[in-house]
C-alpha cells in the first residue's frame, strides 16, 4: 500500500502542471463501465470451458464440487448455466438447467433447494434455499432467453426472479432492500442477531440483467444497498467485510456462530463489483490493500488477524481482475490459462474473472 501511495503522490505531482487534472489520482472518481452487458457468447476461451465441463459437469448436467465430496449446490448449477451461455453452448446449458430443475426445484415455491449430496437418501440435503443460487440461476436463464430467444427460459427466469423479490428482499431500508441469504433461518424472527446477511450473495452483475425478467423488483436498489453495506463493513485491522454479518438495527458486525473471517464467500465481493463495473475506488481499497500486503489472495481472520493464502490460481484471478479494473494493471499472461489441477471453486472464480475481463476490461488484456 505504501508503494501505491508513493506512486500516486508522484503521479499527482506530475499531473499538477495540468490544472484541469489537479485531482490526486487516489481521490479521482473511479470511472468504470457499468453499462448493461449481455453474457451470451461473451466467453472467448473454448479450452477453458472444455476443461471446466470435463472436470466438474457430469453428463446429466450436475455441477460437482470437487473439493467437497462431489456435492452440488444451486450456486454451482447457476455458475454452470452462466458459463454455458457465455460459451454459447446450448446443449450443455440444457443439460445443466434440466438437471437443476429436475433435482433442486423441489420446494413448494419457485426457489431452489440449495444443497444436493450424491450419496444420501434423499439426495436433497436441505429444503432451504440460498439466495445467491436463486439469483445466479435466474440470471443465467435471462442470458439464455436472450441468447437463444427461448420463451421457456424467459418464463422460468421470471418465476424465479419474482420469487426472489417476493420472499428474499427486506424492504424499507434507507439504502435499498436487504437480501436475506435464504428464506429460512436468517431473519430477525429466526435469530436474535438477525437479520444475517452475506455480502457475497449480492451478485452485482445479475442486478443489471434481472430487470429483464422482473422489472418490478428493485434490483438497482439492491446494488445500492450492497455498496452501502460494504462501506459500513470494515472489520479487523484489515478493514475487510466478513463472510457472514449480522445487521441488527442497521449496524453490521461479524455474525455469531460463524468464523469472523473474510474468506471463501467474501472473496467474491470485489469479483462481482468488477464484473458489474460498480463500486467506488474506496470500495475496492481494502481488498487491494490486503493483496498488496500479503502478496497473495488470502483468507483473513478478522478477529486475530491471521492470514492464510487460498493457494489456488483462481483466487489470484479475482485479484488480477480487480487490479485491472481499479488500477489499470495489465492482466497476467496466464490469467485465462486452463489449470487442470484446480478445484471446482477456484476454477469457477477464474471463469467469472475471465468473462468479466472479456466483456468489460479489454484494455487490461496483454497485446
Amino acid at each position: 500500500m505504501r508503494l501505491i501511495r508513493l506512486a500516486m503522490l508522484a503521479l499527482a505531482a506530475a499531473l499538477a502542471f495540468s490544472p484541469a487534472h489537479a485531482q490526486p489520482v487516489e481521490d479521482a472518481p473511479l470511472d468504470l463501465d457499468a453499462t448493461e452487458k449481455k453474457l451470451g457468447g461473451a466467453l472467448k476461451a473454448p479450452e477453458l470451458w472444455a476443461l471446466y465441463k470435463a472436470r466438474f459437469i457430469s453428463e446429466s448436467g450436475r455441477v460437482m464440487d470437487s473439493a467437497n465430496g462431489g456435492i452440488s449446490h444451486s450456486e454451482g448449477q447457476g455458475y454452470g448455466m452462466l458459463f454455458a451461455v457465455a460459451a454459447d453452448d446450448r446443449a450443455a446449458f440444457d443439460r445443466i438447467w434440466g438437471w437443476t430443475r429436475a433435482n433442486l426445484m423441489v420446494r413448494d415455491d419457485q426457489l431452489l433447494a440449495w444443497r444436493w449430496e450424491p450419496n444420501a437418501r434423499p439426495a436433497v440435503a436441505d429444503m432451504n434455499d440460498a439466495s445467491d443460487g436463486d439469483i445466479l440461476v435466474a440470471w443465467a436463464l435471462v442470458e439464455a432467453a436472450e441468447r437463444w430467444n427461448d420463451l421457456s427460459y424467459r418464463i422460468a427466469a421470471r418465476r424465479v426472479a419474482v420469487e426472489v423479490g417476493r420472499k428474499l428482499l427486506l424492504l424499507g431500508g434507507k439504502d435499498g432492500p436487504l437480501l436475506l441469504p435464504a428464506v429460512a433461518g436468517f431473519s430477525k424472527e429466526d435469530r436474535a442477531d438477525g437479520p444475517i446477511v452475506n455480502l457475497s450473495y449480492w451478485v452485482f452483475p445479475a442486478f443489471a440483467r434481472l430487470p429483464r425478467a422482473a422489472p418490478e423488483v428493485d434490483w438497482a436498489g439492491l446494488t445500492q444497498s450492497g455498496l452501502a453495506l460494504l462501506r459500513a463493513s470494515k472489520f479487523g485491522a484489515a478493514g475487510l467485510p466478513a463472510d457472514w454479518q449480522s445487521f441488527v438495527d442497521g449496524v453490521p458486525a461479524p455474525a455469531k456462530g460463524f468464523a469472523p473471517a473474510f474468506s471463501y464467500d467474501a472473496i467474491r465481493i470485489p469479483l462481482y463489483m468488477a464484473m458489474a463495473g460498480v463500486g467506488e475506488r474506496a470500495a475496492y481499497a481494502p481488498f487491494l490493500a490486503s493483496w498488496e500486503r500479503t502478496g497473495a489472495v488470502a483468507a483473513v481472520d478478522l478477529g486475530g488477524g491471521g492470514e492464510r493464502a487460498f493457494g489456488e490460481p483462481g483466487y489470484e484471478a479475482v485479484a488480477a481482475l480487480a487490479q485491472c479494473a481499479v488500477q489499470g494493471k495489465k492482466l497476467p499472461g496466464d490469467f485465462a490459462a486452463p489449470r487442470p489441477g484446480q478445484n471446482y471453486y477456484p476454477a469457477t472464480l477464474q471463469m467469472l474473472a475471465v468473462i468479466a475481463a472479456q466483456t468489460r476490461y479489454a484494455s487490461c488484456a496483454r497485446s
Binding site: S58, M64, M105, P122, I155, R166, L170
Partner: protein, 657 residues
C-alpha cells in the same frame, strides 16, 4: 441576481428543447413540454450591448445590435438599453468586445496583460462578475455534456465553484449533477432558488417540470407549493400525472385528489391523451391499485383500443379476474401470451386452479388442447401437473402419466411426485412407482404415505376444515367465517383443491381403487426401502426447442455441434444409495415414524423433523410476502396474481441518499 436571471433565462429557455438535460428528462413525460419553451430569438447575451449603451458608446452599441441581429434574426433590441446594469470602467471596450465574442481565454489574457502593464488597474466589478458567470456556465455545461456530474459536485463541495449569478440553464445542470450524485435535497434547493429569483414564466415552469421528472414527488411538491397562484396552470396535467405515478410507486400514501384525477382523466380521454395509450393505462393501474377493478377495466380497455401494449392487456386480465370474469381473463392472457411472459404465466396459472380441483369442472377439449400446447411450448411444470391432475381425476391414467413425467422433470414438487407414483400404481407399474417413492424417501412424506397409509388420522386443523367444507356443502348455516371468524386455510371453503394432497380426504376414490387405504405395507414391503439412483433422470425440452433429452440428459437428437468433442466429467461420487433416509431440514415427519422407524441425522446434525415445515414457513417481516393480504394466498388466487402486476412507471426518480 434577479436581473441577470431575467436576462439569461431566455437563453436557457430557447435551449430547452435542444439541451441534453431537457431531452433527458423533459421528454420522459409525454406532453410535458412547456409552451413558452418555443420562444425563439431571445437566445442572446446582451451584456456587451448593455455596457456600450450604458457608457454612451452609440456606435459600438449599433455595431453590436447589427451583430446580434445577424446571429439571431428573430431578436429585437430591448427598449431599456440605456438602463445601467452596473458601473463599468470606461476603458474596457476591448475587453467587452472579447467578452461579447465569447473569447474567454483571450479576455483572461488581456486582463492579465493590462494588470501587468498598469499596476493597480482592475477590471470593473460588472465585467468581473459577468466574466465569472460566463466561465462558470461554460465549465458546468461542458462537464455536464460529458456526463462528469461527479466532478461538478466535487468542485461545488470544495468551494471551487460558486453558483451565485449563474443563469437558469447552468443551475439546471448543477441540479442535474446533485441528482446524479443522489443528493436530491441539494437539487431541490437549486430549483427553489430559481423559483425565488426567476420572473419569466417559461423557465419557472420548466424548473417545476424538471423537479417532477427528476425528484421524488414529495420533493417536487415542495417546489409546487412555492409557485404563484395559478402559475402552474399550463402544466397542471403533468403535475396530476406525476401525483398519480407517485401513488403507484408508493411515494405518496393518500389517494390523488379528485380534482387532479378528473383533470387527468379528461386529458387521458381527449384526442391528445389517447395518442399515447400509456395515459389511459396509467389511470387503469391507479384504479387497480385502489381495487376499483371496474374503473381499472374501463381504462385498460380504452388504452388497448388505442394501441395499449401487452402490459396493459396484463392489467386487463387481472382486473377481469378480480371481477369474477375468469373465462375472459384467460382469453386475454392467452391472446397476449407471446409478447409478454407475464401473460403466459397468468394464462397457465388461471386455469391451473380449475384443472387441479379434486372434482374437476368440465373444460372444453379445445381449451385443454391449447393449454397443453402452451405448457409444452414453455416447458411449464405448473401446466404439466395441472393437466396431469385433471387427467388423473377424470380417470385418464395414460394421459396423466405422460403429463406427470413432464411435471416431475420440470417441477418435481411433493404433490407432483406423489401424483406420478399414484398414477404408476394405477397403471400397475408398481416397480416404477416404488423407484420414485424410494427416491424421495425422507423428502416427500406424501409420496411415502402411499406405502404407509394412515388409517386413522388424529384430528388436525385440516379435519376441522373438512367439517367446515361438509357444513358449507350441505348448506348448513353457521359456517365459521361467515361472521368474520378466520378460516384455517383460505377464506372460501369451496376452494378446496387437493393437488397438494394435504387434504387427503378431498380426493375422490375412483372405482376399483378399493383398498388404497387398506394395508399394503406387507405387500409392498419388499419394495421399500430399496436402493435407487439418487438423481431424478427425467428431462424434456420445451416443444419446438430441440429434441427431447433421453434419460439422464443423454442427447438423443442434437445435431453434432462444435462442442461435440467435449467430454463431461465422470460422476464418481454417486456410488450407492443408502436404504435409510436422513433428516432434511424443512421436512416434517415421515409416515413410517409412527411404527418406530427412525431416520439418520441430517447433513447439519439435526435429528428431529422440522416444524414448521419449509412449506409452512412464516414470511419474514419486511418482505413483500409478509405483506400479502390473506385473500391473496387463498387457494383461488393463482400464483401469478400474488405478484404486483404493475409495470414500472417511467417517471420514477432516482433513489435519494
Amino acid at each position: 441576481m434577479r436581473k441577470k436571471l431575467t436576462l439569461l433565462a431566455g437563453v436557457a429557455l430557447a435551449l430547452l428543447g435542444a439541451s441534453p438535460f431537457a431531452s433527458a428528462q423533459g421528454s420522459r413525460v409525454e406532453g410535458s413540454r412547456v409552451e413558452g419553451s418555443r420562444v425563439e430569438g431571445s437566445r442572446v447575451d446582451e451584456s456587451a450591448l448593455r455596457y456600450y449603451a450604458s457608457t454612451g458608446q452609440a456606435e459600438r452599441a449599433q455595431a453590436e445590435i447589427r451583430r446580434l441581429r445577424a446571429l439571431y434574426p428573430a431578436w429585437t433590441p430591448p427598449d431599456n438599453l440605456s438602463e445601467k446594469t452596473a458601473a463599468g470602467g470606461a476603458e474596457e471596450d476591448d475587453l467587452w468586445d472579447l467578452f461579447a465574442a465569447d473569447k474567454l481565454p483571450e479576455l483572461q489574457a488581456a486582463i492579465l496583460a493590462r494588470r501587468a502593464a498598469e499596476p493597480g488597474w482592475e477590471p470593473s466589478a460588472d465585467l468581473r462578475a459577468k466574466f465569472r458567470a460566463k466561465l462558470f456556465r461554460a465549465r458546468v455545461l461542458g462537464m455536464a455534456r460529458d456526463g462528469r456530474y461527479l466532478d461538478i459536485v466535487r468542485e461545488l463541495k470544495s468551494g471551487g465553484m460558486r453558483i451565485e449569478g449563474a443563469d437558469v440553464e447552468t443551475l439546471w445542470a448543477v441540479a442535474d449533477a446533485w441528482r446524479a450524485n443522489r443528493q436530491n435535497g441539494q437539487a431541490l434547493e437549486i430549483y427553489k432558488g430559481i423559483l425565488r429569483d426567476a420572473v419569466e414564466p417559461g423557465p419557472r415552469l420548466a424548473t417545476v417540470e424538471k423537479a417532477i421528472a427528476g425528484l421524488r414527488m414529495e420533493e417536487a411538491e415542495q417546489l409546487i407549493a412555492l409557485a404563484k397562484k395559478g402559475e402552474l396552470e399550463p402544466i397542471s396535467v403533468d403535475i396530476a400525472r406525476a401525483r398519480i405515478a407517485a401513488f403507484l410507486h408508493d411515494e405518496r400514501k393518500p389517494a390523488v385528489e379528485e380534482a387532479d384525477l378528473k383533470l387527468f382523466a379528461d386529458y387521458a380521454k381527449s384526442d391528445k391523451g389517447l395518442k399515447d395509450s400509456n395515459q389511459p393505462a396509467l389511470l387503469g393501474w391507479y384504479h387497480y391499485k385502489l381495487k376499483s377493478y371496474q374503473e381499472a377495466l374501463d381504462w385498460f380497455k380504452l388504452s388497448l383500443e388505442h394501441g395499449g401494449d401487452a402490459m396493459v392487456a396484463h392489467g386487463l386480465a387481472h382486473a377481469l379476474r378480480y371481477l369474477g370474469m375468469k373465462r375472459e381473463a384467460e382469453e386475454v392472457a392467452y391472446a397476449w401470451r407471446e409478447p409478454l411472459v407475464n401473460n403466459s404465466i397468468l394464462f397457465i396459472d388461471i386455469l391451473e386452479r380449475d384443472l387441479t380441483r379434486p372434482i374437476p369442472p368440465y373444460v372444453e377439449p379445445e381449451r385443454l388442447a391449447r393449454y397443453g400446447e402452451v405448457t409444452l411450448q414453455t416447458a411449464s411444470g405448473e401446466g404439466a401437473q395441472a393437466l396431469a391432475w385433471y387427467a388423473y381425476n377424470s380417470c385418464q391414467y395414460d394421459a396423466a402419466l405422460q403429463w406427470f413425467t413432464r411435471a416431475v422433470a420440470w417441477h418435481p414438487k411433493e404433490p407432483t411426485v406423489y401424483g406420478l407414483a399414484l398414477t404408476l400404481s394405477r397403471l400397475k407399474q408398481e416397480k416404477e412407482a416404488m423407484v420414485w417413492i424410494n427416491r424421495y424417501d425422507g423428502l416427500f412424506p406424501l409420496a411415502v404415505e402411499i406405502i404407509f397409509p394412515t388409517t386413522a388420522k388424529p384430528p388436525t386443523p385440516c379435519d376441522q376444515r373438512l367439517d367446515q367444507v361438509a357444513a358449507f356443502r350441505s348448506g348448513a348455516p353457521g359456517v365459521p367465517g361467515d361472521r368474520g371468524a378466520p378460516l384455517p386455510y383460505g377464506a372460501d371453503p369451496r376452494a378446496v383443491s387437493d393437488p397438494t394432497g394435504r387434504y387427503a380426504w378431498g380426493r375422490v376414490t375412483l372405482p376399483g381403487a378399493a383398498g388404497a387405504t387398506g394395508a399394503p405395507v406387507a405387500k409392498l414391503a419388499h419394495a421399500f426401502p430399496i436402493a435407487v439412483a439418487a438423481e431424478n433422470p427425467l428431462r424434456f425440452a420445451a416443444a419446438g426447442q430441440g429434441a427431447p433429452l433421453g434419460p439422464a440428459g443423454r442427447v438423443s437428437g442434437f445435431a453434432q455441434d462444435r462442442f461435440a468433442q467435449d467430454r463431461f466429467a465422470q460422476d464418481r461420487w454417486q456410488t450407492g444409495f443408502p436404504l435409510v433416509a436422513r433428516r432434511v431440514p424443512g421436512v416434517g415427519a415421515m409416515p413410517y415414524e409412527r411404527y418406530g422407524y427412525a431416520l439418520l441425522p441430517g447433513y447439519n446434525g439435526v435429528t428431529t423433523s422440522s416444524a414448521p415445515k419449509a412449506s409452512d414457513q412464516l414470511a419474514p417481516a419486511g418482505t413483500l410476502w409478509s405483506k400479502e393480504p390473506p385473500d391473496e394466498s387463498a387457494s383461488d388466487t393463482p400464483a401469478a396474481a400474488r405478484v404486483d402486476p404493475r409495470p414500472p412507471v417511467e417517471t420514477r426518480a432516482p433513489r435519494n441518499g
